[in-house]
């Protein structure tokens, strides 16, 4: 068995029993990356030397005991390139930050490193996380390992493709409107967006601050619980994090859904959904029922307004977040400016790509005094209505189930107009509007491409999501499948 194929918990067990070393693990992943990444193009930056050095340090200094204390000790990680890594280039896949080297780590990265995980590289994404296909990277397009002519989804497409292609053991991504879950679903891996406020955003380069959350992309649900244990919890550097009780998410890896109440939001199964996607999700629901869960239909009457609500608010917040890029203190700097205004405008016009400018302009328009009430405040009010729908549904049900996306991965270049691209996130956006946790797990295939099923849970109840997702996983075989296109 090749080491690169294994999960975090499998590798950790081999380390505990001294059947392998950290150095062998890191070397195995690096050789996999060298073999495949010219094709997949998941990574922007590789930190091969530092990673090998750290692995050797751990091997030399550690007795078997410490591997029992941390399942992440010596395990390599891939980090989305909008999450700051000290002294490692962090570009946001933008010309604006192409040479940016953060002088500090994001809290989530610090926490992974405290547990002994080794940063192996930074992954490609849509520029500033604005996109659903990773085609909007200013550098290159990442391919879906299941079919090299299709997109990996986005915006954390590099992270999801790396995990699916066994070029990473696990990865961090970020999820503002579905950017962890959509690529995880398209690439047939597990993706968790935690509750807003449960994982620190310190060092995550902001897109829309009331929506952004760092999330986890893994090969199975067990790994997802292990990574959550490391990164969740309050952080003095992010005042929107919540003081949570100490939790062990691995306690929720229970293969049992007896008595679990599942709500099926009927609006998620309406027009526009691919038939294979619908059938696979419905089949999974029947299977959970046969294992003792109960389900019933539920209505979220305002859910059809999620997309316009999200775009009004997220673009307004993005236009404000991105006002910091002035071409002076860090980031792209233009030559020969006439005056200060010209300097700002040149840096921003040359540094930002087309989708970023589109959203800055729309966001600025929404925040313009004339439209503030009718667009921005209106959308905030509709957000309240959507949140109420969820609160009501989750009074009655423990989790809601939907497809993660109405379709499987689409062809590279297939979605040229922004609105049809935005539509890819239609099932993931509502959880961001309501700040709720949501996880995607593989639940089938359509024409060789993976299908994702999404569980949405109550705020700060990741444990129920993990239990439900784990049960589904343990009773199916989808998570053990690997893309044939790259494993011949």
């Amino acid at each position: 068995m090749e080491l690169y194929k294994l999960t975090v918990h499998e590798l950790s067990n081999l380390l505990k029993s001294r059947e392998t070393s950290c150095k062998e693990i890191v070397e195995s992943i690096i050789s996999r990356i060298k073999e495949l990444d010219n094709t997949i193009k998941a990574y922007i930056t590789l930190t091969e030397e530092q990673a090998l050095k750290k692995a050797a340090e751990i091997d030399n200094q550690t007795d078997g005991e410490r591997f029992s204390e941390s399942a992440l000790l010596g395990i390599p990680a891939a980090i989305k390139d909008n999450i700051c890594t000290k002294n490692i280039k962090t570009t946001c896949s933008s010309k604006m930050l192409q040479d940016f080297i953060p002088p500090y780590n994001a809290t989530a990265v610090d926490r992974l490193e405290e547990k002994g995980s080794i940063i192996l590289g930074k992954t490609n994404m849509d520029e500033f996380a604005m996109g659903s296909s990773t085609e909007k990277s200013a550098f290159f397009k990442t391919k879906n390992p299941w079919n090299l002519e299709t997109v990996p989804g986005g915006s954390s497409g590099g992270s999801a493709a790396a995990v699916a292609a066994d070029e990473a053991v696990y990865a961090l991504g970020s999820d503002t409107g579905g950017s962890v879950r959509l690529p995880a679903a398209f690439c047939g891996v597990v993706g968790l967006k935690p509750t807003y406020g449960s994982v620190s955003r310190y060092g995550l380069i902001s897109l829309a601050s009331s929506f952004d959350q760092i999330g986890v992309i893994t090969k199975d649900v067990t790994d997802c619980a292990i990574i959550m244990n490391a990164i969740y919890g309050q952080d003095p550097n992010d005042s929107t994090t919540v003081d949570l009780d100490l939790q062990d998410f691995t306690e929720s890896l229970i293969n049992n859904v007896k008595g679990l109440k599942i709500g099926i939001p009927k609006e998620y199964f309406a027009e526009g959904i691919n038939e294979d996607v619908r059938d696979s999700v419905l089949e999974a629901i029947e299977m959970l029922k046969s294992l003792g869960a109960e389900y019933d239909e539920v209505s979220l009457p305002h859910i059809d307004y999620s997309l316009p609500t999200y775009y009004a608010l997220a673009m307004a917040e993005a236009s404000s977040s991105l006002a910091r890029y002035d071409g002076i203190r860090y980031g792209y700097s233009a030559d020969d400016s006439e005056d200060l205004t010209d300097l700002y405008k040149k840096a921003r016009s040359e540094g930002f790509g087309s989708e970023v400018k589109r959203r800055i302009i729309l966001g600025t328009y929404v925040l313009n005094s004339e439209n503030y009430e009718s667009c921005f405040i209106k959308a905030q009010k509709v957000r309240t209505l959507i949140n109420r729908d969820f609160a009501k549904a989750l009074e009655k049900f423990d989790v809601l189930i939907s497809p993660t996306s109405p379709t499987t991965a689409f062809k590279l270049g297939a979605k040229r107009d922004p609105v049809s691209m935005y539509y890819s996130d239609i099932y993931t956006i509502p959880a961001n509007l309501a700040g709720l946790p949501a996880i995607t797990v593989p639940c089938g295939f359509s024409q060789g491409l993976p299908i994702g099923l999404q569980f949405i849970g109550r705020a700060f109840d990741e444990k129920t999501l993990i239990r439900a997702a784990y049960t589904l996983e343990q009773n199916t075989d989808f998570h053990n499948k690997r893309p044939e296109a790259i494993n011949r």
């Binding site: 302009i361 905030q380 209505l385």
Partner: protein
């Protein structure tokens, strides 16, 4: 709600962006499609609905007023070409 090319020019200016003619036309067209979607929110009666500014019931967080380490000047200037003797250099902003 309809966005015109003049609106785009004005917005681009306040957002500190240069756009060429082609981009202006392009964005005018595309943003009207997105705005049409946003205009659908007008169908809903939200007269007595409070806006959600933020999803959590957050209070301001205070910390002890004590000195903590911050970035040293080398780190502050490591990502710019505009550093000069501990300052950021910008074009002249005061007229003679």
């Amino acid at each position: 709600m309809k966005i015109t090319k003049d609106d785009i020019e004005y917005i681009a200016d306040v957002a500190m962006l240069y756009l060429n003619e082609e981009k202006k036309e392009h964005y005018t067209e595309e943003l009207n499609v997105v705005l049409n979607q946003i205009a659908k929110l007008g169908e809903l009666d939200t007269k007595d609905v409070e806006p959600t500014v933020h999803i959590l019931p957050l209070k301001n967080v205070w910390r002890e007023d004590k000195i903590e380490p911050s970035l040293d000047s080398e780190q502050v200037f490591m990502n710019t070409e505009n550093g000069e003797e501990g300052f950021f250099r910008v074009p002249k902003i005061i007229e003679d």
